[in-house]
Amino acid sequence: MARGFAGTTLRVDLPRGTIRRLPTDEALFRRWHGGRGVVAKICYDEVPRGADPLGPENVFIMTVSPMSGCLIPAGSKVEFGSVSPLTNGQGDSNMGGHLGPALKFAGYDLVIFTGISPKPVYLFIDDDVVELRDASSYWGMRSLDCEKRLKEDLGEDFEIATIGPAGENGVLFSCITHDFGRQAGRTGQGAVMGSKKLKAIAVRGSRSLHVHDQAGLTAYVTGIIKRTQKHPNMEPWQKYGTAFFIRWSNDNGVMPTRNFQTTYYEDADKIDGDQLIEKCLITHKACFGCWMNCGKYTKAVIPGKPEVHLEGPEYETGSLCGSNLGMKDINHVAYINWMLDNLGMDSMSGGGVTAFAMECFERGLITEKDLEGRSLQWGSVDDVEHFLDMVALRRGIGDWFAGGTKRAAEKIGRGSEKFAMQVKGQEMSGYDGRWAPGMLLSYMTADIGAHHNRSWTITVDMAEGRESVDGRAKIVVYLQHIRPLMDTWCICRLFWGELDITPEEIVESLNLITGWGVSPEECLRTSEMIWNLNRCHYLERNKADGRTFDYPPARSWEDKIPTGPGKGKGVSRKQVEQMLDEYYAARAWDAKGNPTRAVLEDLGLKDAADNLERIGLLGVPIPGGIPAVRGEKYKPKAF
């Protein structure tokens, strides 16, 4: 087996309570690279197409890569995946902290959970000892409290991941929390854990890992460390983390404000990075193998409420739970962040769902009667606290919102779907797409719904023009192929995005670890395989042409931005259709957004093509054939 791997894969049979140890399938990782790639392949192969994501036939996967735990920059990530109950397609989410490396040090590359446990359990790993332990005394506990208790019970040196009451109750955007403030937030992985009665994962590992060329790797990585420490972005990143972007986003008119009604927030200076550092910061916090310490461990101090500690808010939470909810005090934003972390809900979807509910309340579509006598006003932290409690426990109308904005809008009706800011069931990230068409296209075409991380295109929009869409789609495809490099090898993308680590450097480190001889081109190809496999999986589960699912919420193209630097700007329906046409052409999919046999077979996915053909959703062949390379290489311009 190649170096870097720990060597063992665990299959946890939750109904029987048994655990099988198997040799890690090196060929699987060699082809799909690890992390997100392995998740995509296993979900496709093992979950029946009609399976309920919260039912016994879904799998829940925790995995890393052969690089994890070795001496590489920012190699902290652990990847979780399953079929998402929120989007009904392949879902995955990764998080930093220390759990991924701990899993490797304990001796494991991949853990696959199947079925549903008859009783609440947690997975206990201490090197060779792997057990399912009774979690009935932890069930019901809030996430941060549960992690604290598990560390007291097992030992401080255990790395812990937990779900909160939201995950236990099947709130579809539930998250997994670790290290007192890192989350695997998107796609409802916490709900899948909860459906399996899996409360937590506790890992301690004490072994070392062997690499192919230790001297070479040490020298190579030392060079990267020295270079990045002098990078001009290091200082602002170390100081603010991503909260740095609050001011930038607002000045550039992409700030989600009061449920994306507009894109400029008049009170941004009350919730920006400076406010965070000045009012809330306790200490900076870093993940395994990272010296950028973008994490901010903070306190929220609100008179009349207990002081609470949390990690954040970073940009997404700071905007989606800040300007998006009309909050005027950084302490209030931090408190909402803490509530979501502790209840175990994704702070991005949590902000989006709350904002949607606030607009429904503003419009009289829901009333105090529905909210147990409370209001839900913009800017009211107390109203938000009460609402989130209703949602986490699925109490009353909270049950409607527990399914995300898409399902809530279906229940509420009366035109509310227009401003349910989601695609494919997942809430939008913290950038408005009306004056950033590449970002909008990213939301439309991401396999997991309106999430920015699949292709963060905002800076491309700035550089290439915010009102034109020509050629934007090809760049989105390219960026969608770059990101999986980080997600499959389980390293933090901020090092690539902000400190200019190149794909070549990532791949060179990988080869020094494994001895494999992978090229950046191979990585891009694996990325394309993942995109196509997930698309096929999505179509098979949702049984309609792909284009059906790729449209943004109506607000994103019907309403022009009313205020601020982006006033009057907006993307037209014609531009949306044009971007989709260009995107499908760039991907060698047909005009209905369905992958063609030619591109699938070129990627070695003949079985997926056969499966699509069987259900009548295989893409119509493209006249003249498909381009040899999909996703034109893009060199970022300054902006």
Partner: protein
């Protein structure tokens, strides 16, 4: 690895065996340590099945006392290097595969060269010292080691795959006194070699092996098979430290 028409005809009857993957076998490579009673049997059947590359290593020459059980040799093989004779017979049995041979002694230093690049090691040895060398190689490189051994009416097979499973040193002490010449008749190494070949084919085709971390203990006198689990020894001198 695609198959020619000739190959498809040769393998026609096994292509219909459930879960069979002939292309995957053609792309596979195995190392067989020793081509005597055990190794000669497993090599022959793996060759017939179409494993693409079979590397056989044995330092011995054919002796008349081998002929009661070592199926690759006849009266006219006496005195020849076993790997030369075996290599010839295996290539005749299946000309579509690659046979590699070496008569170098198997030891700790030579294994790094001899076993490089294979996906599976099969045991066809007749002494414990060489087996422990194979085991150390298996632990160091995390290549699975399909162990087999016979004596009289008994034999056993097991698949060691560190770090997932125990290694041979978790099971047996290297200090155990070995018999200089073990009594053996053809059916035993024949049976055990075939059991090894069956398990090897499953492993090489990506099917889940049944003997991962287990021993199948065969008693030809009683006609019994016992299947037992082996636990890792947390203090094993060979495998407990490394990952």
């Amino acid at each position: 690895m695609s198959l020619s028409e000739r190959e498809k005809e040769r393998y026609r009857r096994q292509l219909g065996v459930r879960s069979w993957d002939q292309e995957r076998l053609k792309a596979a490579s195995v190392f067989i340590a020793g081509v005597g009673g055990l190794g000669g049997t497993s090599a022959l059947y793996l060759a017939l099945a179409g494993v693409g590359r079979i590397r056989i290593v044995d330092r011995d020459r054919v002796d008349p006392s081998n002929l009661n059980r070592q199926v690759l040799y006849g009266e006219d093989s006496s005195g020849c290097l076993k790997v030369d004779e075996a290599g010839r017979r295996l290539s005749e049995a299946n000309p579509h595969i690659i046979i590699e041979t070496s008569s170098e002694p198997i030891g700790r230093e030579s294994l790094d060269r001899l076993a490089a690049g294979v996906s599976l090691i099969l045991d066809g040895l007749d002494n414990m010292e060489a087996r422990f060398a194979l085991n150390e190689y298996s632990v160091r490189h995390r290549v699975p080691y399909l162990y087999g051994a016979v004596c009289g009416w008994q034999g056993m097979v097991g698949l060691f795959h560190p770090p997932v499973t125990a290694c041979l040193a978790c099971l047996l002490s290297s200090e155990q006194e070995a018999k200089p010449e073990v009594p053996v008749f053809g059916c035993l190494p024949g049976t055990v070699g075939l059991l090894q070949a069956t398990e090897a084919l499953k492993y090489l085709m990506g099917l889940e092996p049944a003997l991962l971390g287990k021993l199948l203990i065969y008693d030809g006198r009683d006609m019994t098979f016992d299947l037992v689990d082996m636990a890792k020894n947390p203090a094993c001198p060979v495998c407990s430290g490394a990952v």
